[in-house]
């Protein structure tokens, strides 16, 4: 069995207009750069993108939005993307905000065969509007449905030809759960290793979840600004 493909181009043609894509990454960390860039070149339109946040202007999902390929964004946070803000205020892009943990749990549920679950998160807030309410232990909970994608774009550190994946530090973020929740899961990795080259006790995403894998190239892997320690 060999799930390796040459590059993003080899699989990106599968994505049709209107598809729902789960895209890993948190800010600019752990972003499937090669896949997003290939999707921009490929040009599919009216996409629904599920990603924690739309990233920064001109990078990752941000670039996809600037290219006007996104009809709807499902995210938990929209900060720091002015172009998205402009489109949203003009009503030119639809947005659905989910609490970050609810977003993660909805995909975990989809991957685990659970169509809906109860949570107290979001009860009494805009995130709970229109949801069924039920009390458990005297506390109101809302019923939240699973969230599934047609495709998942996953960025990992290392992988093998069976699709087993290992992530590095906080670049794991949403990648691991998204890998479980889509019909067709494409993983880009910084390094493909020989089968047997990953510690079986330390595989984060078992290959069963992955449909295609390739070694990405030209990673930018930017960082956002932040305070620094003094020497």
């Amino acid at each position: 069995m060999d799930k390796r493909v040459r590059n993003a181009e080899a699989v990106i043609g599968r994505i049709q207009d209107g598809a729902t894509i789960l895209a890993g990454g948190f800010g600019v960390c752990g972003v499937p750069e090669n896949l997003i860039n290939a999707l921009i070149r490929q040009g599919a339109k009216n996409l629904t993108i599920v990603s924690n946040n739309p990233g920064i202007d001109g990078f990752g999902i941000g670039a996809l939005i600037e290219n006007r390929q996104v009809r709807k964004m499902i995210a938990s946070y929209l900060g720091n993307n002015r172009f998205f803000e402009k489109l949203a205020l003009a009503g030119e892009i639809e947005m659905e905000l989910n609490p970050q943990g609810t977003l993660a749990e909805r995909m975990r549920a989809a991957g685990a065969g659970i169509p809906a679950f109860f949570t107290p998160t979001g009860y009494g807030t805009m995130a709970g509007e229109g949801r069924e309410v039920r009390e458990f232990g005297g506390r109101p909970h809302i019923l939240v449905p699973a969230l599934r994608g047609d495709f998942a774009f996953v960025k990992a550190w290392k992988g093998d030809r069976w699709g087993n994946l290992v992530y590095r530090k906080t670049a794991r973020n949403f990648n691991a759960v998204m890998a479980t929740a889509a019909d067709y899961v494409i993983a880009e990795v910084e390094q493909i290793v020989e089968l047997g080259g990953l510690d079986p006790d330390s595989v984060h995403t078992p290959g069963i979840f992955v449909d295609a894998i390739f070694e990405g190239t030209g990673y930018l892997k930017p960082t956002e600004p932040g305070p620094k320690r003094k020497r």
Binding site: C29, A88, Q100, K221, T223
Partner: protein
């Protein structure tokens, strides 16, 4: 000492040794810099890390290692990483001892609004709704009033709420206020501030604790690594 440092220092006194803590952006971020001696807390970052270390030295940022505020951080001995799903299972499952968040409004029942201002852009709730619903103890750290002097501690939130009846303690530059079943109890006032002065910039009526204290924060002399 500026207001933000004052608030962070007072919040730091609420930490207990061995606490697992999640900190929001802004003032809460400062708290680990002011922990009392002998108090070790472990910071959780909701993007998938326990044991967040100090900020890196310039030029030593690792793009795969950031906090939930998206700033580069470092790891320490004992750190570990996990996925967003596991991170929020941890948060929502009640495993975090304390969360410190900022607020736009808190009301007399502890209902919190801190994620959106209608008319302006909605930035999104991020992990705030999960944190307020799942954390054992929620501490609000904020300046007592808005920039125009309007009360942020109100009878009933008017902004879109983050969670219903969730806050346990409010720490501001003027006061420490506990949220109880019978309402807000003024526990401490800042040096030189009277309970009446606090009440004046607080919408709901404050019950004054019989053992009302003055907030005591002592600047330390030790230099510690800059934490988030």
């Amino acid at each position: 000492m500026d207001k933000r440092e004052f608030i962070a220092r007072r919040v730091a006194q609420e930490m207990r040794d061995g606490y697992y803590v999640n900190l929001g952006i802004g003032i809460p971020t400062l708290v680990p810099n002011y922990l009392p001696p002998g108090i070790e807390v472990i910071l959780q970052s909701e993007n998938g890390m326990l044991g967040v270390g100090p900020y890196p030295y310039e030029g030593e940022e690792d793009p795969d290692l950031i906090n939930a505020g998206k700033e580069p951080v470092t790891e320490i001995a004992g750190s570990c990483y996990f996925s967003s799903a596991e991170s929020f299972a941890m948060i929502r499952g009640g495993h975090i001892d304390a969360s410190v968040l900022g607020a736009l409004e808190v009301d007399e029942k502890g209902t919190l609004a801190n994620w959106a201002v209608p008319g302006k852009m909605l930035k999104g709730m991020g992990g705030a709704m999960d944190l307020v619903a799942g954390t054992k103890r929620l501490i609000i750290a904020m300046e007592h009033t808005a920039k125009d002097g309007a009360p942020k501690i109100v009878k009933k939130c008017t902004l879109p709420v983050t969670g219903i009846e969730v806050a346990d303690l409010i720490v501001t530059d003027l006061a420490v206020i506990e949220v109880t079943r019978r309402g807000l109890v003024l526990r401490e006032v800042a040096p030189g501030v009277t309970p009446q002065a606090v009440q004046k910039v607080t919408e709901p009526t404050l019950e004054i604790a019989p053992d009302l204290k003055t907030i005591s924060v002592v600047p330390e002399t030790v230099e510690r690594p800059l934490f988030r």
